[in-house]
């Protein structure tokens, strides 16, 4: 197993401070802090998360490409996003990241958001750079699985943990129900299969149903985080 590198992105107060019309997600910072602690425990190299106004499309991609570029062929890369997600069309999902002209009273600067097909390019880049590596995408937002659906064929190297189905919202109260379940699980186990089983049991107990999606990459079914 090669080097394990994680890039984390979180947008919490950004939405309300910039009058975007999206609600503030104050629990984002807690989630980032918890994940930093957990990944550090599992020997990941976690870079300083990209938070709020710094979380532009360019900065996120530049950071991710730089970290993937520094990996060996068997390197592991984890991308975590927590914030708002939305659908443009049935097949186009985007992460509501920071953008210069992002105001509620203007037309959404949609070209500055990260779409599923753009994220696909990142995974292709990872595939070319790390042919024996493992990419893990954790998306904690509404329509989360929409970021990945167009990319089903590459399940051999890509593990996907999404808070919600493409067509559905991710639910939260004082924190996102998905992250609570994920954290509870990761504190007890780092084996992917157990993580999958555990989240799918815990989440419905916390909320009325589970709409998260977890696909473990074919080549890493018996691996550990």
């Amino acid at each position: 197993m090669g080097k394990k590198t994680a890039v984390l992105v979180g947008l919490g107060d950004y939405y309300s401070e910039r009058a975007t019309g999206y609600s503030s997600l104050p629990f984002v910072y807690q989630n980032l802090s918890d994940l930093v602690d957990i990944l550090t425990t599992y020997k990941w190299t976690v870079y300083t998360p990209i938070v709020d106004s710094a979380a532009t499309e360019k900065n996120i991609f530049d950071s991710a490409i730089e970290k993937i570029g520094s990996l060996e062929s068997d390197g592991w890369f984890l991308f975590y996003y927590t914030g708002h997600g939305a659908l443009k069309t049935d097949s186009e999902m985007y992460l509501v990241n920071s953008a210069e002209n992002f105001r509620y009273d203007l037309v959404l600067p949609i070209n500055d958001f990260i779409f599923n097909y753009e994220y696909t390019k990142l995974t292709e880049f990872f595939r070319s750079k790390c042919p024996d590596g493992h990419m893990i995408t954790i998306v904690d937002c509404c329509h989360a699985y929409g970021l990945i659906t167009d990319f089903q064929t590459q399940q051999s190297f890509h593990t996907i943990i999404a808070a919600s189905q493409k067509e559905e919202q991710a639910y939260y109260a004082d924190n996102s129900f998905f992250f609570k379940a994920l954290k509870q699980t990761l504190l007890q186990t780092n084996e992917f299969q157990q993580i999958k089983d555990s989240i799918e049991i815990i989440l419905p107990r916390m909320y009325r149903f589970s709409n998260c999606v977890i696909h473990i990459a074919d080549n890493f079914q018996n691996s550990q985080l």
């Binding site: 104050p26 910072y29 807690q30 980032l32 602690d37 550090t40 938070v51």
Partner: protein
């Protein structure tokens, strides 16, 4: 009203009644005597028959559910009192009448306006009680834990309450006007010389009386005490305004301050948590960063922490201002 005030009031009433009687103003005198008699009956019932213990003297009867003097109670009690006194004075007036067995002609009749007036004041009292009890159930802290003051009847949550003042003024005017009509009625009863006139007197409202007069029926004497309908409508509007205002939530500066303080406290706590979390993240991750992009992300996080700190300081100042204003 304490015991001395009650005695002095009765003494003044008794002396006035005596002077007026001697000056041959028998109708006014009879009305005052009936009020005095009613006070006495009330005292006998409360202190001798039922042995009720007072908290604040006889004025207990005017104290509302919130613990202060209640205008609607005062109004309901005074109207009920005056209307009972009116019937009592009719009975006394029949006794004063020179005709033998005049008491035989006594009839317990009221004009429509009188009944409407009593219904209005009692309805207002019940409505206000309902509103107050509901308010207290939701906010028990509103019960006044101080000695009730007579000024409570015109003082609202935020000082003098115009809806109360106007209702009080109209009530006083209505009481005066109605009392003059009662005195006129008593005067007519005392002066009746033909027994058949009692029947007419006890069953004639003012409209019938005026109709008789128009027809040249000179033997018709007087009519039941009344208040003009236009005045009753005015009383209804006045009471409606008073009750309507009670239904509207009161603007309370103290509550606003408390809410604002609570809001600020929550925001400050949330910003402090954010600061602590981002600082923890920075401590745990800074060593891994080597590139220009990493440094930018570190700088951004530091800016976020500084911005949160600045905001906390601003909010603390705002909190201090609110707390100082409170003093």
């Amino acid at each position: 009203m304490n015991k001395n005030a009650f005695i002095i009031t009765n003494a003044v009433l008794a002396i006035s009644a005596l002077i007026l009687w001697l000056k041959d103003e028998k109708a006014v005198s009879v009305f005052l005597i009936s009020i005095l008699l009613l006070f006495f009956i009330f005292w006998i019932l409360v202190r001798v028959v039922f042995r009720v213990k007072y908290t604040y003297g006889i004025s207990d009867i005017f104290i509302g559910d919130e613990g202060g003097f209640s205008l609607s109670r005062l109004q309901a009690v005074v109207w009920a009192f005056i209307i009972i006194a009116y019937q009592l004075s009719v009975a006394i007036a029949l006794g004063v009448n020179q005709m033998p067995n005049a008491m035989y002609y006594y009839e317990l009749t009221f004009s429509e306006e009188t009944l409407f007036l009593l219904g209005l004041s009692l309805g207002s009292y019940i409505s206000v009680k309902g509103i107050t009890v509901d308010k207290i159930n939701k906010h028990p802290e509103l019960i006044k834990h101080r000695k009730p003051k007579f000024s409570d009847i015109i003082i609202g949550d935020n000082g003098i309450d115009f809806s109360r003042v106007q209702m009080l003024i109209w009530t006083v005017i209505a009481l005066f006007v109605f009392s003059t009509k009662v005195v006129y009625f008593i005067n007519e009863i005392i002066g009746v010389t033909d027994p058949s006139q009692f029947k007419v007197l006890f069953n004639s409202n003012v409209d019938q009386f005026l109709e008789f007069k128009k027809d040249g029926n000179e033997t018709t004497k007087g009519h039941l005490p009344y208040l003009p309908w236009s005045f009753l409508v005015l009383m209804g509007l006045s009471q409606g305004a008073y009750i309507g205002k009670k239904l509207i939530p009161t603007f309370k500066l103290d509550d606003l301050k408390l809410n604002k303080e609570e809001e600020l406290r929550i925001t400050i706590s949330s910003l402090n948590t954010k600061k602590a979390l981002l600082s923890n993240i920075l401590t745990k991750t800074a060593a891994n960063n080597i590139s220009e992009i990493d440094r930018k992300n570190i700088a951004n996080l530091e800016n976020e922490i500084a911005a949160a700190q600045k905001k906390v300081e601003e909010l603390n100042k705002e909190m201090q201002l609110i707390q100082e204003y409170k003093k």
